[in-house]
Symmetry: C2
Subunit: 406 residues, 2 copies
């Protein structure tokens, strides 16, 4: 029997306890032995809870119990989670987490500590919730030279964009509704400004390169500027609008990653990823593109991924499970040199001047719109596009990058 | 350094050699050591080939070379492949294969032999080509009680159905074109009659249950009866037509599997799986549905999956990698008791009699069709439906099951 401690008895933490309880038999079969929740660390008490007697408030109890082999860190945030994780690993206890913020910021360091102390730091749940993603990238697509990852990694923004698309509603309205339904937090900044997706693509970029990709080096743009007008044009161009996170290995071995809304052609597999679902395309030099799709968040899916990591630790005994992500900083290439097709929306009055400023691929017409017009550019380097775009001032009303639009 | 032998220098075999060559560095990094092709077994000679000096014709050479630790069986078929695999495993050499026919027929026995001789029998490439599928099911979704698998597992039939849908063409025409393009074999029976998908769903069913599911016990229907008229009605019902393979664990723990064409609602993730691509939905009691999508066949994707297995063997040294598929026969439940919504196409002349014979959900109208009409039933047990359907003789012209249609 292996004793497990759960740090944080919120949504994911209670999910972890539920998965371990409800799927006790499957879990024991896969782990090769019973897994038992020995402690639940939380600031609060839960007197009515069936696990009330497992709830403690002092992390030292867990640290000093030599029988606890595995710790699930599902508190979130960097503060105490970082300290607790470090101490647990230094004590030789493996840590399984859903904490993308901590993994993105200190993953490389924590992996080194785990390695040094003969235990593991696993984080399948930190990207894509319940979708097996990190394990397939690290353990299944092993014969591949991985070239890129492109995904919808944030369920909240995907829900908002899906509603805007289907209902023709404006961003503000849909955000309010999403907050009411609990799909968006009261302070939605981390989601809608792209920070959450940025952390996740930083993690995937680190796994792709084997080196450390700092989230701060990733160009990040959220969805707060997307309007119902943009969706009208997107539909006319045969596209939807999705917040994509992407990471591309360049020919010189450097990596470039970004988070931004994109027009995605309807025939593209990512265009069919709707509502709170996530989808991730992985591109390898032999297999081509494979996609992983499923619930990118939610109590039980996320908890299931944490427990899968716990099972892996149990199966592997005291051997460190390594994903080859070192502390060496990855060489980043300039986002300014990346080429995209751009959709541009501009004031009808300035049509001629605006069209003259870009290599135009085709115009996108929406009959009912008379004040503005839209068009797609030829592929342009980010830096070159930005220069032209800025010059035009308020004659241009918006621009969105395009995926799958030729 | 680990020495690898490749059995069969056809499409997949030459792909395996190519992946090992082109991604030498990645593969060595993941495997922890160099992998070297020591022998290529084939009946033919390949005098112009850069690996000409590795080509041999006698399997005994491989068997007797104690330095060969891993054998890639990519010959296909059951005959010699079965004997060679058995002998290799008995000699303690791990075998990695893309041979779905052999895995479906003798997988359980070969896994037992591998276990008894401290080596592994791996078959990631046998289902879904290059898509990581078997490994995620066995090693990632470990915290789940898996409830069902539903997938598009045959690229040839998916290509044919996609073309029929897009071009309004008839089955025969599209099959001819697919044969010209090399997407369908000259004798297409294994694909178009559903046998290939049946073998694959038998393998997945065995992994789901941990027991042996005999392909012979799986209801199998191909696509040869699908007409352009069916597609006209499918479109009117907001659906596409896909050849699905499914396996469901029943509440009593028994399993029921089938292969048949289905009307699939356009909003369903499997409806977006087109051309030669495969897609597989896995349903777990905690995560809900996750989907794996990608190239289900093809030289390099399939070879990449075989090499991923080779890397796993190399990493694991002499420990057997087990997927928990025993020789004990799985308890099968009757397909006759499974409920589906059915689309029925019948002669306009017999409209009243036919409609009276079924619990009708709604009619599906196609303006330009005057000789026949179509409707959807309420969910009906297979056995009950079949009885009614047969009674009506040639008054009914066709029927297709439905997925996602309420």
């Amino acid at each position: 029997m292996i004793k497990v401690a759960v740090l944080g008895y919120g949504t994911v933490g209670s999910g972890v306890v539920e998965v371990l309880e409800k799927n006790r038999q499957q879990v024991a079969g896969k782990a090769g032995q019973e897994l038992q929740v020995a402690y639940i660390l939380d600031l609060r008490d839960f007197p009515e809870d069936p696990y009330a007697d497992k709830v403690i408030h002092d992390f030292q109890v867990i640290l000093q119990d030599a029988e606890v082999d595995i710790v699930c860190e599902v508190m979130g945030g960097v503060g105490p989670a970082y300290q607790f994780t470090k101490q647990a690993l230094e004590a030789g206890k493996s840590v399984c987490t859903s904490n993308k913020e901590l993994v993105a910021r200190h993953g490389a360091e924590l992996l080194e500590i785990a390695m040094a102390h003969g235990c593991s730091y696993l984080f399948e749940a930190s990207v894509g919730g319940g979708i097996p993603l990190i394990r397939p990238i690290c353990n299944a697509l092993t014969a591949e030279k991985l070239l890129s990852v492109t995904g919808i990694l944030n369920g909240t923004t995907n829900y908002i964009l899906t509603r805007m698309d289907r209902e023709g509603a404006d961003y503000g309205q849909v955000l309010n509704k999403a907050q009411e339904l609990g799909y968006a937090e009261r302070n939605p900044e981390a989601d809608v400004e792209g920070h959450d997706a940025c952390r996740k693509i930083a993690i995937l970029s680190s796994l792709l390169t084997g080196k450390n990709v700092d989230p701060k080096g990733i160009y990040t743009e959220g969805i707060t500027g997307i309007t119902s007008a943009d969706f009208a044009y997107a539909r006319a161009a045969g596209c939807s609008i999705k917040l994509l996170a992407a990471s591309h290995i360049q020919e010189d071995g450097s990596v470039c990653a970004w988070v931004a809304p994109f027009l995605v052609e309807m025939a593209h597999p990512l265009a069919a990823v709707n509502d709170v679902f996530n989808g991730v395309l992985v591109n390898g030099n032999m297999v081509g593109e494979v996609m992983f799709y499923g619930p990118g968040a939610g109590k039980l899916p996320t908890a299931s991924a944490v427990v899968a990591d716990v099972i892996d630790c149990a199966r592997n005994g005291n051997r460190t499970i390594s994903c080859g992500w070192s502390e060496e900083p990855a060489r980043m290439s300039s986002f300014q040199k990346i080429s995209h097709v751009f959709f541009v929306r501009a004031s009808e009055k300035a049509r001629e001047e605006v069209l003259a400023a870009f290599p135009v691929q085709k115009c996108v017409d929406v009959a009912e719109r008379t004040e503005d017009f839209g068009f797609l550019t030829q592929p342009m380097e980010e830096g070159v596009f930005a220069q032209q775009y800025e010059k035009l001032g308020d004659k241009v009303l918006g621009r969105i990058r395009c995926l799958g639009v030729q």
